[in-house]
């Protein structure tokens, strides 16, 4: 392919970019996407900030023992505890009412909270249980109570398997899957509509007097691909910058490998699907048929996306989903999710990526053949088999 070949193809790509960049819908959807991502980065951080720390008041009794009890209760309930010593029960009550305290431990007699939760446990109930046990232990001979001061009351938990990926990592994986899903589907359908429009308006007849079909196809998918990359870059930047700024635990603990794997699969997924969406567009003769023509290409991704929810919050990955992560049609969504839940080692990512790259070559050839044969055939909507059986 000569420099002129690429220059012509770039003209096509640039027209696509200008055309999309001028459309109001592009900026509106971009803005909505950024707002959604910004919310995704900020809101969990704010919510998490409130839940993960609690101020516990202690009144009377030995301050060191009460502090230890409060910290242990925090450890057990997953709350980072700050202990505040208060002079009197009245002061504790006032602090509870004003919301400055989550709970107050009054010696070894009671735990005060502003209001009991309707269901489940809270830092207050955990504090009450640990405080109660502490009181029993305090009555044992000193020899029997040895170790409590250093190890706490609760027995240590020993897990047999390594810890699974934490929720923040999983949420990052889910975000990546959603982003990949949304980008491939929206840009894919734009390609189908664009190709269909060129065919329906017959502008393709004018273009193909100087361009080869493959140039027109390549220019379109390159132009759209660059726009998609720009949009993704903006989204990821907003997510990381805002997330770090507000101290979102999801963003802070987002493993770099998930961001990298997500980036890899968005590129691989787009490359695999873009030519197929163009081929779908070449089959139609009215732009109104674009969504129907593109539907078969959307179903595998929709399937993978829906099944993602059965994996993200589960402790094990079902084998079916694991298989999907190796099929090029579903891998772009499934593989980043597998990585996020810690179910896919690096070699599996590499194997799946290689399968997808090889399939992309195959898909581009097939789609190029379909596109080249169908783009100038008018009349009724064409079927893939019909096009492939027809002479070149």
């Amino acid at each position: 392919m000569s420099a002129r070949w690429w220059a012509m193809t770039w003209l096509v790509a640039r027209r696509e970019i200008n055309d999309r960049a001028r459309a109001k819908s592009f900026w509106i959807t971009s803005a909505l996407l950024l707002v959604a991502v910004a919310a995704g980065a900020i809101v969990p951080g704010l919510l998490a900030g409130r839940q993960s720390t609690a101020r516990i008041g202690i009144v009377g009794g030995p301050a060191a023992a009460l502090s230890r009890t409060a910290r242990e209760a925090g450890q057990i309930s997953g709350t980072s505890v700050t202990v505040v010593a208060l002079p009197s029960v009245a002061a504790a009550q006032a602090a509870l009412r004003s919301g400055k305290l989550a709970a107050a431990l009054v010696g070894d007699s009671e735990v005060l909270v502003n209001r009991q939760p309707v269901t489940g446990s809270s830092i207050g109930t955990t504090l009450a249980q640990i405080g109660g046990l502490q009181k029993i232990y305090a009555q044992l001979p000193p020899a029997a109570a040895t170790g409590i001061a250093t190890h706490g009351i609760a027995l240590p938990v020993r897990s047999l398997s390594p810890p699974t990926k934490n929720l923040a990592t999983r949420i990052t994986g889910l975000t990546a899957a959603i982003l990949i899903y949304v980008i491939i589907l929206t840009y894919g359908i734009r390609i189908t509509i664009g190709v269909g429009e060129e065919k329906a308006t017959r502008v393709v007849e004018v273009l193909l007097t100087t361009l080869r079909p493959v140039q027109l196809l390549a220019g379109k998918v390159i132009g759209m691909g660059l726009l998609a990359l720009g949009q993704i870059a903006a989204v990821v930047t907003v997510y990381l910058v805002l997330g770090h700024a507000v101290g979102s635990p999801e963003v802070r603990s987002a493993a770099t490998n998930i961001v990298l794997v997500g980036g890899l699969w968005i590129v691989l997924g787009y490359a695999f699907y873009c030519t197929a969406y163009a081929a779908a567009g070449s089959l139609i003769t009215r732009t109104a048929d674009a969504y129907n023509a593109a539907l078969p290409l959307q179903l595998p991704l929709i399937l993978a996306y829906v099944l993602t929810y059965t994996v993200i919050y589960a402790s094990t990955v079902n084998p079916f989903f694991h298989v999907l992560a190796f099929i090029p049609f579903t891998a772009p969504v499934a593989m980043p999710v597998l990585v996020a839940v810690g179910a896919a080692p690096a070699w599996q990512v590499a194997v799946s990526a290689l399968i997808t790259v090889a399939s992309t070559v195959w898909m581009a050839r097939l789609a190029g053949t379909i596109y080249g044969r169908a783009i100038l055939r008018t009349g009724s909507r064409l079927k893939v088999r019909q096009v492939l059986r027809s002479p070149a």
Partner: protein, 340 residues
């Protein structure tokens, strides 16, 4: 300059779609610098042939040669093409569209911009250059389409129905441009169903039917071919009574001559031989002073009907009601021909 320079040759073009034969060994030559009309009833294969010339339709066999060579990648950039069903991006602005197409044909950005401006101006689109195509009237879209075919100053113009959807002013503007481009040495092939317009505009035509050539030549050659006719009028004889009663001693109409019709005293008589015209003039002179005498030139529409046979009715274009009304308004067929 060799004899092949600028000459477009269609050689034995064949193309079949399923059971339908679109092109059946079509051959003819379009010389450089002539406005050349391409005629035929609907479905005759004109569009398929034009698409084959510009390389957007495949051929089963046959070849298209320009300047004596098959049309390659470089030659294709020198072609200006206007498809039958117009091809423009609806949401693109006129100037951008023209510049884009000029760039695709190899013009530099500066030249593309200048050419787009020139042709917008030339075709009366300068006020519309920042409008989107979809906001333009059909006629103006047509002008943009022509500008798109001309913007890279092509050496070969292939125009499929360039006059459809144009009002009379648009027809005049389009005619002027085509004549000018042909005079500038451009090779040109355009199809049309508006036969009187073609007759007025073209130097030569090719008429095809069922994918094959049925008539080909200059308009003059075709108009003077076929059945010879003379039109004769004797002064004061409004009924052409001289035909019925020749003077004593004179013979009747020569053998093979027949009166076709009489209108306003003028008799149109078909002849078997050119020499018989003299005998008819002598006959008329016997009846009185002859006011009008001359060979009748065939209209192109008549040549067309003779060539494509009686089964073909007046070609009717598939057009929108508005376009049909516009076409009707500019139709110049005399009533006698239209009702024939």
């Amino acid at each position: 300059m060799s004899i092949d320079d600028g000459q477009l040759e269609l050689i034995e073009l064949r193309r079949q779609f399923g059971d339908t034969v679109a092109l059946d060994g079509l051959s003819f030559t379009v010389p450089r610098g002539q406005v050349f009309g391409f005629l035929g009833p609907n479905g005759a294969g004109k569009t398929t042939a034009m698409r084959a010339i510009v390389g957007v339709a495949a051929l089963d066999s046959g070849s298209v040669r320009w300047n004596g060579e098959p049309i390659g990648e470089d030659a294709r950039r020198r072609i200006g093409y206007m498809p039958e069903e117009r091809g423009l991006y609806p949401s693109m602005r006129v100037s951008e569209q023209l510049e884009y197409l000029a760039r695709l044909h190899g013009l530099t950005p500066a030249r593309a911009q200048a050419a787009a401006r020139y042709w917008s101006d030339r075709l009366g689109l300068v006020d519309r250059s920042q409008e989107k195509i979809e906001a333009l009237s059909l006629g103006n879209q047509q002008r943009v389409q022509l500008a798109a075919a001309l913007v890279h100053e092509p050496d070969l113009l292939v125009l499929d129905e360039p006059f459809s959807s144009l009002d009379p002013v648009g027809v005049d503007a389009m005619s002027a441009v085509l004549t000018e481009r042909a005079a500038a040495g451009v090779t040109m092939l355009f199809s049309s169903h508006q036969l009187d317009l073609v007759e007025h505009l073209c130097t030569a035509v090719a008429i095809i039917d069922h994918g094959a050539l049925v008539a080909h030549g200059t308009v003059d050659e075709l108009a003077s071919g076929g059945t010879l006719r003379v039109a004769v009028k004797v002064a004061g004889d409004e009924q052409a009574g001289w035909l019925a009663g020749p003077a004593p001693g004179a013979g009747g109409l020569p053998a093979g001559a027949a009166v076709e019709h009489v209108a306003g005293g003028t008799a149109t008589i078909s002849l078997a031989r050119r020499e018989d015209a003299q005998a008819i003039l002598d006959l008329a002179l016997l009846a009185g002073p002859v006011e009008q005498f001359g060979f009748v030139r065939r209209r192109l529409s008549e040549v067309f009907r003779d060539a494509v046979g009686p089964s073909v009715q007046e070609p009717v274009q598939a057009q929108t009601p508005a376009a049909t009304a516009a076409a009707a308004a500019r139709e110049a067929y005399p009533a006698t021909e239209a009702s024939r």
